[in-house]
Symmetry: C2
């Protein structure tokens, strides 16, 4: 059982107010008393209860990280995980802690139901909120706007909506279009595009835009998931390589690419020589750890996380206003996996 402020006060021969002052670094206490209190603090290994303190201050020193897991948890996506690492890197060094909110909401019933974070905000369990990803169907925006309007500190990763709040993002559509442009300019006309299923609406849009913009281009989309069936994947690749005569591909995930590579090798095809590849890396230099090295867009997920966490923290400690929106343009890293076609 942990000692209370009264025990400490008694042992130090002072009042609880003085103990409180010492604990909170409030100046204006005579040195001799400070020493006595410190001794007692040490003696009891005293830690102020969050409840008593919270009741008075109204804060919990806790930051919620919310992920609306549509289909897969935040622990499945390499991207979210990197964001989370970034957030953790920053928060860990602060006086705040991370409260995980991994919500398993099915798309159907989410219509009216309130997202979990609302409850936490009301209970004052969290002082601030980070949303790892804004679902594209907009189902979170209502609830989020409500608490943001209420001046609750919120940071999110994703495109900005509304006026207030903090957000950071990397524009997926933009760098995917850029990847297509690169391949087109190197002479590729039949491109395979293997994105993750979760964004399929956006992907269709990318395809149409690209095919209109670049004459003679054909983009073959296949939605993938992190646990795609390998036989299925092989069938698709065979079809694409042999029927569609695809000469290049854009893959959204390096782990998927590893599978693609092993399939291609059974078909006697080599990345770089027989087919050009552009991928996306969320961890710096990941694409250089493949053989051959892979051209990648580096989406600095770690930085996204660190940035939004820093902003939120600054906001919480009153250092900055809460009207911030930052966009990161992923850098293209050339490593020789894209060849020119005559």
């Amino acid at each position: 059982m942990n000692a209370s402020i009264h025990d400490v006060a008694k042992r130090a021969g002072v009042s609880i107010a003085t103990v409180s002052r010492v604990v909170n670094n409030s100046a204006g206490v005579k040195e001799s008393k400070v020493a006595a209190v410190k001794e007692a603090l040490e003696y009891y290994d005293y830690q102020p209860s969050q409840f008593g303190r919270g009741l008075v201050t109204g804060t919990s020193k806790m930051i919620g990280v919310y992920s609306p897991l549509a289909g897969g948890s935040m622990f499945e996506s390499g991207y979210m995980l990197e964001c989370l690492r970034g957030i953790d890197n920053i928060i860990r060094e602060s006086s705040y802690s991370l409260l995980l909110m991994n919500e398993s909401v099915s798309y159907e019933k989410s219509e009216k139901a309130k997202p979990k974070f609302i409850e936490y905000v009301n209970q004052k369990k969290i002082d601030g909120l980070i949303v790892l990803t804004i679902p594209s169907d907009g189902r979170l925006e209502g609830a989020l706007s409500a608490i943001i309007e209420d001046d609750f500190p919120v940071g999110y990763i994703g495109k900005r909506f509304g006026e207030k709040g903090m957000n950071v993002y990397a524009s997926y559509e933009e760098y995917m279009m850029d990847g297509i442009r690169r391949l087109y300019e190197k002479g590729h006309r039949e491109i395979a595009f293997l994105p993750m299923k979760s964004r399929s609406a956006t992907n269709q849009k990318i395809k149409s835009k690209a095919e209109i913009k670049y004459s003679g281009l054909k983009v073959n989309i296949t939605d993938t998931t992190s646990d795609i069936d390998i036989e299925f994947l092989r069938d698709i690749l065979e079809y694409m390589m042999e029927e569609e005569l695809v000469t290049a591909m854009i893959v959204e995930d390096l782990r998927l690419l590893a599978k693609v590579q092993s399939i291609l090798s059974t078909m006697g095809k080599q990345i770089g020589n027989d087919i050009s590849v552009i991928c996306v890396e969320h961890v710096k230099n990941e694409g250089a750890k493949m053989l051959p090295k892979i051209d990648c867009y580096y989406v600095p997920a770690l930085q996204l996380g660190e940035t939004i966490a820093t902003e939120l923290l600054d906001n919480l400690t009153g250092k900055k206003t809460k009207e911030i929106s930052k966009r990161f343009m992923p850098e293209y890293i050339e490593r020789g996996s894209v060849k020119e076609i005559e």
Copy 2:
């Protein structure tokens, strides 16, 4: 601003005691009043503040997940991540929440310093603790024993120490030895062993034990890390294949194996035909998603997490005692990546 119990009481025309009763499902309240209170509850979207409640009950409804990150965070190891997912699966469906404690302690200064969770326990920020991995140097055991002795609910993943507390684990040494036995019995005498560096003492032990037990056997250990340099890895593989004439390998991680595979393919070697492979999978069926499919020990990390979380929860809700130790023996899954040698 969230309403307090007083607001609700006023609106419902009852005392705060009655509101409290309704909120906590305490029976013995007249139906008409229950209805009135419920209406008011709804009206204000009332949620009891954790502070007031916690002050009285002494509980936070929070479970801490602690990971002493020696070199890598819990977000880097596939194994820990799976454990975390398992924990989350269970906790998410309960009334508890997860508080993440990812401690960045360097080995050196950890001598006397108290691990972070102590503070959280004293502050009553957590009602229970799960330790994701017990470091092999024993630096956590003292602090852990202390709170366990104090009857604080603790569950950990790792071999049991002390009398009290709950733990679950899969015996690494045991299944690694078993893998070596399998290869030996299929005629392999030169085996490459590519474990993760973090356990290098244990790995040396495995090597010596195996070489003593199985005459004529040679185990070539190379410690690896998740971000191993691919050129370095190629050099090692070349040496092992060409100088040591290795015919089989045990790899601790499927992602590493993917790299190994791509290197081998540049050497014209194929897994299964030219070299036998046994790997470890933490996600069920992961090894079947490689091409060729890989023989694996399935270490049910998800289950480890789910099990320890369930135990802790049962303990917290008073369903069970806290003297539990469960060992999981990883299952060997044959998929044809190991060939017999005459």
